[in-house]
């Protein structure tokens, strides 16, 4: 029997040879996968997109996620279960008096792109620019009564405060405002770091690409003076939705992702193969805010009726799947100033709410609620809508995407801030109560204080607590401040939530005690 070999692609190839060739080809294609899986690339979920590289524009942890990778600080948080700090750029740093901190930088720590060595002048420039009024730094409160930096040598200096500042070691230096940037590079760029040019960096990674709305691509910084990073490349992948983040993790698109509370119980019981789950108590705080300056709520009885009509346990059960506890304030358990209980019980009291409305002469109250388009907050809004209806309060819910929502209460972004009624918000937090109360002082109205809460005693206590060194007295002051917030009828505290991280078992993530990632310290397992 003859074969017509002219129509075969490989006329002299036997089936066995073909199979062997396919096997070799298949094995060969494994090599890029192996190279990828060896941990040379790390993909981390970012729940929103950082604005830019400039600490002046920073608003919270999201920027810290990026800055931690590309910039350094005098000191940094220590990853683990206990809040602590460790020297970073600082060779030595100590509090020499209640208002002075002397530091000496490690020598030979370099900026990228030929900008030379990191000096005390960079430290002075980085901290002092937050205090310049025209710079409009959104994180100026992080530095409290910071005055100036006195440069005493190329690598040494003294940080001066106007008065003692207890959160210096927990907020000011190891968090956003403590980020050191390159004076020469920033001045050359006109005093502002924009996204147009990747900045001069000092951290373990540098920015190579920013795909708007998609990801920040970082790669190992060859000029980094510390121990080399474990990963050649780090992508901060923007995934807004918690469910999408979980799917992305399971599909292998990201190696580390914060997931929603709705998945915690299921994943604790049966985590996907090659995946681990860690759950941490969060410091963040979610609350329902009421604009106390809105004429609709001028009558305190109306404000209190709304507070009594909101059922916190139902919100926690529905939106947080019972993995979190109702909050008693803006300060989480374990921190100075945490209150053991609220003034208004967390359970709704529709009868009390109704009675207050009747006293105020209101038959039916219609209220507008603005929320961010997250599953947690839209779910909470629907629960509120159902429970408030029992007290005769009709709740209209408006959902906004991130950009629109976070401009609602900002006076610089239009007039809407004055007409706000109710909002559900979540703020990030650091391990000092000062960071919680700083956003609710009178000065913050039109910026972060959307409730337009203004109380002289609150403002005074906030200032005094900054320099109070007695922990017991400080604890008492912060408790009182939260009492004042609640008594205003402008705040219904929901929960601190939990931080649940789903990650590949071939990486060793580094997190703060509240579970937030410190990507610069991530290693291969």
């Amino acid at each position: 029997m003859t074969q017509d070999t002219s129509r075969r692609l490989f006329p002299n190839t036997t089936r066995r040879q073909l199979l062997a060739g396919a096997a070799v080809l298949g094995t060969a294609t494994m090599f890029p996968l192996v190279a990828w899986a060896d941990g040379s690339r790390l993909n981390v979920r970012a729940y929103l997109e950082p604005d830019d590289y400039d600490p002046l524009d920073a608003s919270g942890f999201l920027e810290e996620l990026l800055y931690g990778c590309i910039y350094r600080k005098l000191i940094q948080y220590v990853p683990g279960d206990q809040w602590d700090w460790q020297p970073d750029l600082a060779e030595s740093i100590e509090q020499t008096s209640p208002t002075t901190i002397a530091f000496t930088l490690k020598e030979g720590q370099m900026w990228s792109d030929g900008f030379g060595e990191i000096t005390a002048e960079d430290v002075k420039f980085s901290l002092e620019r937050h205090m310049v009024e025209e710079n409009n730094s959104r994180i100026k409160p992080d530095l409290g009564p910071f005055s100036h930096v006195e440069v005493t040598g190329t690598h040494s200096g003294i940080i001066h405060l106007d008065e003692p500042f207890a959160p210096l070691w927990t907020i000011a230096l190891p968090y956003l405002a403590g980020t050191i940037i390159c004076k020469e590079a920033v001045e050359a760029a006109g005093g502002k770091i924009t996204t147009a040019i990747p900045p001069a960096v000092s951290g373990p990674y540098r920015v190579v690409e920013h795909r708007l709305g998609e990801r920040w691509v970082l790669e190992r910084n060859p000029d980094y003076s510390g121990a080399a990073a474990d990963f050649d490349r780090v992508d901060l992948v923007v995934i807004v939705d918690d469910s999408a983040a979980e799917i992305a993790k399971e599909a292998g698109d990201v190696d580390f992702a914060q997931i929603g509370p709705g998945s915690v119980a299921r994943l604790q019981d049966s985590p996907p193969p090659g995946t681990r789950l860690s759950v941490h108590p969060s410091l963040f705080y979610h609350w329902v805010g009421l604009n106390v300056q809105n004429p609709k709520f001028a009558d305190e009885r109306v404000r209190m009726a709304i507070m009594h009509a909101i059922d916190v346990p139902s919100i926690v059960q529905a939106a947080f799947f019972d993995v979190a506890e109702p909050a008693t304030g803006i300060i989480a358990p374990g921190l100075i100033g945490h209150r053991p209980e609220t003034i208004i019980p967390p359970q709704a009291d529709p009868a009390r709410a109704r009675a207050l409305l009747d006293e105020a002469g209101i038959d039916r109250l219609e209220v507008n609620l603005d929320v961010l388009n997250t599953v947690i907050h839209t779910t909470a809004a629907q629960v509120m809508q159902a429970t408030m209806a029992q007290a005769g309060i009709d709740l209209n819910i408006s959902v906004h995407e991130s950009g629109s929502f976070w401009s609602l209460g900002v006076s610089a972004d239009g007039d809407r801030w004055q007409d706000l009624e109710l909002t559900i918000k979540r703020f990030s937090m650091t391990p000092d109560p000062y960071y919680a109360t700083a956003w609710f002082v009178t000065e913050q109205i039109g910026d972060w204080n959307w409730e337009q809460f203004s109380n002289e005693e609150f403002d005074r206590l906030h200032d005094e607590a900054l320099s109070e060194t007695d922990p017991e007295r400080r604890d008492e002051m912060y408790r009182r401040m939260q009492d004042l917030m609640e008594e205003s009828g402008g705040y219904r505290f929901i929960t601190h939530g939990v931080t649940a991280n789903l990650f590949a078992d071939n990486i060793a993530p580094a997190t703060r005690p509240d579970g937030l990632p410190l990507v610069q310290f991530f290693r291969r397992a």
Binding site: S243, E246, R266, S314, Q317, A318, V371, T379, A386, I397
Partner: protein, 282 residues
């Protein structure tokens, strides 16, 4: 009896595909109209103890993340879907009808201007336009309807214009003109009745598209406010909690599939019956 059999309705009833479509549509309409009577539960009533329940005798299509009965919510959602679809299609159809006839019957410059306008609107992606409008307008059914009207009336306008142009120079119109018929008589007695056939076919085919736009906008969070029982919102809940239960997503998709099938089949059957060329080939 013979007259009925040869009427449009009679011919549609004799067509199995049209009959199937009409049964589906009738069922959806009746369920939407009688939602308050048929619904076994209050569609807004939360019952957290029963959330993510699978279909059962108590909850025919299971429950959502707040323990609300999915079947009852879909019935109410049907009311919203049909309201949006009928309102939006009626308004956009009327606008398209008027503008299309003006373009077809009016002077050349007006035709060119309207044609440019139609094409410009049609070129704009619906969802992008919806996102832009949703950012500027309060969220709700009105916004959904306005988005649908803006994005769809140009299609009607183009079809009507083409029909009008083809009729404008036909012999019977020229004869009417020669006999001194008024503009109104020509338009309302001769052009309009001949334009309505294709117009209704397009409207029927557009209804499921509009329902899908409403569902899509609600899915993206720019449609009806949270808590409002809509098909899109149910699908969104299903997506958000797909890891907890597949039932919300499956149940939410069912009425959309049925509505799409029903109106598409009806549109095709209408086309078969109203388009003379297709009737000849049957």
């Amino acid at each position: 009896m013979s007259a009925f059999r040869h009427s449009l309705l009679g011919r549609l009833l004799a067509d199995p595909m049209a009959l199937f479509a009409m049964v589906i549509i009738a069922a959806l309409v009746i369920m939407a109209l009688l939602a308050d009577v048929i619904a076994p539960h209050d569609p807004g009533a939360m019952n957290l103890a029963d959330r993510f329940a699978p279909p059962s005798a108590t909850y025919w299509m299971g429950t959502d993340n707040l323990g609300r009965d999915t079947f009852s919510r879909l019935l109410q959602g049907g009311r919203i879907a049909l309201y949006v679809a009928l309102t939006a299609v009626t308004i956009s159809g009327l606008i398209g009808l008027v503008l299309g006839m003006l373009a077809g019957f009016g002077p050349r410059w007006l035709d060119n201007a309207l044609l440019f306008f139609f094409d410009a609107l049609r070129a704009y992606p619906t969802i992008i336009l919806a996102l832009a409008l949703a950012a500027l307008m309060p969220r709700g059914l009105s916004t959904v309807i306005i988005v649908v009207v803006i994005t769809s009336f140009a299609e009607y306008g183009r079809v009507v214009r083409t029909q009008t142009l083809s009729l404008k120079n036909s012999e019977f119109i020229l004869a009417e003109r020669a006999m001194g018929a008024s503009f109104g008589r020509i338009v309302f007695h001769h052009i309009l009745p001949n334009v309505l056939g294709p117009f209704f076919i397009l409207a029927a085919m557009n209804l499921p598209v509009v329902i899908t736009i409403e569902a899509g906008m609600s899915f993206l969070g720019i449609g009806v406010p949270p808590g409002t029982p809509s098909w899109g919102a149910t699908l969104k809940d299903g997506f958000d909690y797909i890891r907890n239960t597949p039932w919300i997503l499956l149940s939410g998709g069912l009425p959309l599939i049925l509505a799409t099938l029903g109106f598409t089949f009806l549109g095709e059957a209408l086309r078969d019956q109203l388009d003379p060329r297709l009737r000849k080939t049957r």
